[in-house]
Each structure stands twice: as C-alpha cells, then as structure tokens.
C-alpha cells in the first residue's frame, strides 16, 4: 500500500492532500503485506512471459476455445448483466460492433475486458475525487481515503491485467469498457452528493468482482487464473465497504463512517450489510469479449 503512494504521486495526482495521519499510518502498516502479494503477482506474470510462445493459438483454434469458454461463463451467469440500465441489448450491440477476435486468444480477450473494467474504475474514482464531497475539504476523511486508495488499487489491477495481456501476445487495453462507459457518463450529472457516488462505485465494483469470479472458471491459462483470483476478492472487499457506507449514509448516520467506527453506536443490521451473499453471484458478470480490442 505504501508502495502505491510512493509511485502514484505525480503532477496530476488527484490525491496530493491525502491525510497521512491515522489513515496514512494504517496504509503504511500494510505495506509489507502488500509487497508480498505484489511479489506473488509479479512471479505469476513472469511465468506468463515464459510460457508466451506455447500459449499462441491459431485463429480457428482460438474461436473453438472461445466458444467453449463462453459456454463455461454462461454456466455462471444468470439473468441480466451489470447495470441493467445498460441492458443486454446494449451489450449485444457493443459485441456486434466489436472487431473479430480471431487474432486473440480467449484468455487475452478476457484479460483485455478485465483491463477495460479497471480503466473505467480508475476514471470513475478520479472523477469522483474532483467532487468536493468526495475528494475535497467537505468530504468524510474515511470516504476520501477509501476513494483514493481504491483508485490506486484499480490502477495496479489495470497494470497487472495489461502486463498479462501483452505477455500473452495481446495488445494492452487502455480504453474503458464501451458499454459501461456510457452508463457512467450518464450517471455523472447526477453525482450531487456522496450517496449517488457510492451507488455508482458499488455498481462498478460488484460488476468487476462478478466478472472476475466468472473469469477464474473461464480462463485456460493457469497463471492468468491466479492473477484474476487474486483480484476478485479485493473487488469484493470494496463492495463490502461500499455497502456499509451506503447503509450508513441512508441511515443518515455519516458520523459513523469512521476508522475505527463507534461500534457500540452502529445499527445492528450494519453487522451484516456488507456481505449479503454466502456465495458470490455472477449474474452481473460482463461478457468476456465486451472490453476486448
């Protein structure tokens, strides 16, 4: 985590005034653990590079494998996709307009789509942090720190997914998911307070987490699977915290969004609001090729 802050601060850094006191210390305390996790991910990516040649498929083979992967993902998806406002029709339109994927392996497509979700997440948090009630002086300090740190974590996910893409012979994805980008753009004018921002972030985090859960079963490459498995739970944690924050905002108790919280004052129901499912769903997982290039 500390690594994030030393590498992310640039001239256009949206987080120059990060409170380095209580929250900052907590972030620094997790630096060692984070570094270990990063090392494991780096090892996985190195392994991907070593295996790049053997992972190349010819176009026909890629299409056949892709059909199988899509069938595997269908086994995990139920009903509508992320942000039903986008709708299945919009997703299908985007897919129809997308280029043929004969030159990319299914794993590359999945990883590119994952990268596209991360691009969108980074951009959305960056936009949110320009709002006074999220990134400004009027913001709850915990919400602000969460937004900054989460944006940075998504930036790291993006880098990792794109590293996996390029090492498998694909092109890094630097464009946001085309379907969800429209949804976010439509939502931005309505971001007039913390609650709608949290709701939008929640949608994106839930969609990303569900996509990655589905991807773990669909990915053929073992190392790409490991990488995705190491990210999905982190997005789920973002969901848990956002659900809790959302509930406290809805309960008109923003003062309870603190670290540590005043546990004695928390509503009883707050104890379970962050994890509504015993088994993480996948019905909002994005189509595997939606963000592929």
């Amino acid at each position: 985590m500390g690594q994030q802050h030393t590498t992310a601060r640039g001239a256009d850094d949206p987080m120059p005034d990060l409170d380095r006191t209580a929250m900052g210390l907590l972030l620094e305390e997790s630096q060692d653990v984070h570094r270990d996790a990063m090392a494991a991910t780096a090892d996985a990516l190195d392994d991907l590079a070593d295996r790049r040649d053997e992972l190349q498929l010819d176009p026909d083979e890629a299409r056949a494998v892709g059909d199988n992967r899509r069938a595997a993902r269908r086994g995990l998806t139920f009903g509508g996709g992320l942000l039903a406002a986008a709708g299945a029709a919009a997703a299908l339109d985007a897919l129809a307009a997308a280029p043929a994927f004969a030159a990319s392996t299914p794993d590359v497509q999945i990883l590119q789509t994952a990268a596209s979700l991360e691009v969108l997440a980074v951009g959305t948090y960056k936009t949110a942090l320009t709002l006074p009630f999220i990134g400004g002086s009027a913001a709850n300090p915990v919400v602000k720190a969460f937004a900054m740190t989460t944006m940075q974590q998504h930036q790291e996910h993006l880098a990792a997914f794109n590293a996996a893409v390029t090492r498998l012979g694909g092109t890094a994805q630097t464009t946001a998911d085309p379907v969800l980008s429209k949804v976010v753009a439509a939502a931005v004018p309505g971001l007039t307070g913390p609650a709608p921002v949290v709701a939008l972030a929640l949608e994106l985090e839930q969609g990303a987490a569900e996509t990655y859960v589905a991807d773990t079963a669909a990915l053929g490459d073992a190392t790409a699977k490991k990488l995705t498995a190491s990210v999905m739970g982190v997005e789920a944690q973002h969901v848990a915290i956002l659900l809790a924050v959302q509930a406290l905002l809805a309960a008109n108790a923003p003062q309870l969004i603190a670290l540590p919280p005043d546990a004695a004052s928390l509503p009883a129901a707050a104890g379970s609001i962050g994890f509504p499912n015993a088994f993480f769903p996948t019905d909002m997982a994005r189509p595997a090729t939606e963000g592929a290039s």
């Binding site: 996790a37 039903a84 790291e156 996910h157 490991k226 498995a229 848990a240 009883a268 129901a269």
Partner: protein, 260 residues
Amino acid sequence: MKRRTRPQPTMAISEAELTSLTAELDELHHDVGMPAMQTALSRWTEDLRTSRRGFLIGAGAVVGGAVLAACGSSSSSSTTSSTAGGPGSGSATLTGDLAVAALAASLENLAVAAYGDVLTAAGAGKLGTVPPAVATFVTTVKGQHAQHAQAWNSAIMAAGHPAVTGPDKALVPTVDRAFAKVTDVTGAAKLALSLEDIAAATYQSAISAVTAPSSVKVAASIQPVEMQHAAILNFVLGQYPVPNAFSPLTGARTLADYRG
C-alpha cells in the same frame, strides 16, 4: 439495476428499516448467489455420481504458509474442541478435488465452531459489552460458513463418502489456545480475522489446485465472501479494510498438513 434493491440515497432510514433491508439482501442471496453456486455444485456432483473416481491432484497441491502465526500459545482449551467430531470415516482417503473439498469443509466447520464459541462466550458475559452490530456480524457469518461447509459436503457425499463434520484437527489446538486468551470483542475479532484470512487464502490456492471447472466455480464463489468478512473485521478493528491490491496466499492450508 434490476437485481438489487438499493436504499433511497437521500432518505434517512430507521434501524427497523435497515434490518428489513438486510433481510431483503439475505433473500436476494437465496435468489441470486445460491442458484449460481448450486448450478456449479450440481454439475460437480453429477460428474461425481457418473464417475465416482474423484479428481486426481497430488497432496500438497494447495500451496501453504504459516497458520495462525499471530495466535497465542496458551495451553487453555476452549469449547471449540468440543465440536471436533472429526470428519466422516474415509475422508482421509479422498484424493484430488474431493480432498480439497474435505479440507475446505473442515475449515468451514472450524469457523462455525469458533463463531459459535464467540456467541456462547458473549452470552455468558465473558466478552464484556457486545455491540449489536458485532452480534449480528457473528451470527450472520457463522451461518454463511455453515452454508459453505454444506456445499462442500454435498459434493463429498455425492461421491459416496461421508460428510466432513469436524474441524481441521491440525488447527483446533492453535485456535483453542488463541480463544482461551480472548477476553473481549476486539480479541474475538482478531481471532476471527485470522480464520477468515486463512480461509480466503486457502480458497484462492484451491482455485489453481482443483481440476474440475465446477469445483473452481464453487471455490471462486466462496473466496470473495471470506474476503468480505475480513474487510468488515478489519474495519471494526480500526484497520484499513482493504489492505492489499492483490489478495495474498499467506496462511493458505495445504493438503499435506491437513489431518482430517
């Protein structure tokens, strides 16, 4: 979004309404999360019924690490061990994905027992004042771990083996020693966090270790939930709730050190 009903963002709600919302989310879990997992589980159990051969991966395929290193060394014993009925006969001979399922079930049983111990201790006034939100957390998480155990056991039983009903015997003494030192909610939360971290890491390892796509799906549907439990525990403890951009494998249990 159609699937989830969100609270109205600008309307303050009461405790009763928040409770109602939680109940609604719980209902959604049965409507959404459960069917997704059950589809994978049904596929897996169907495969098991038709093959009865299990899945072949070697012992130790789940990578390992330190286990509950942060737990204490007291020799006192808690009630956790009283629930250690041990796995059903024959589980020690399970191989492949079924061996991973047995390990997972034993971890879930351990979590159920540990959270049960916390509830018992809280009821006896041994943990001091227990905030209502903490009580709700423990009760809900205990129930989810029981569902996880049930899921793994349904696969094990579908293959003709008895269910794993006890906790991982290798971990019980360590957990008991740690629990004996717990005197308040903070201590209980720290112990719970250790167990959740171990479970999450083990599932993350299992995703790479198991061979059947359906068993990958089951493990993948549980790992994020354990991570969510850990996030809330971190938050309650005043620690940053999402400490890693990539979830670590530290503490993952191995088939090699699983003793049934």
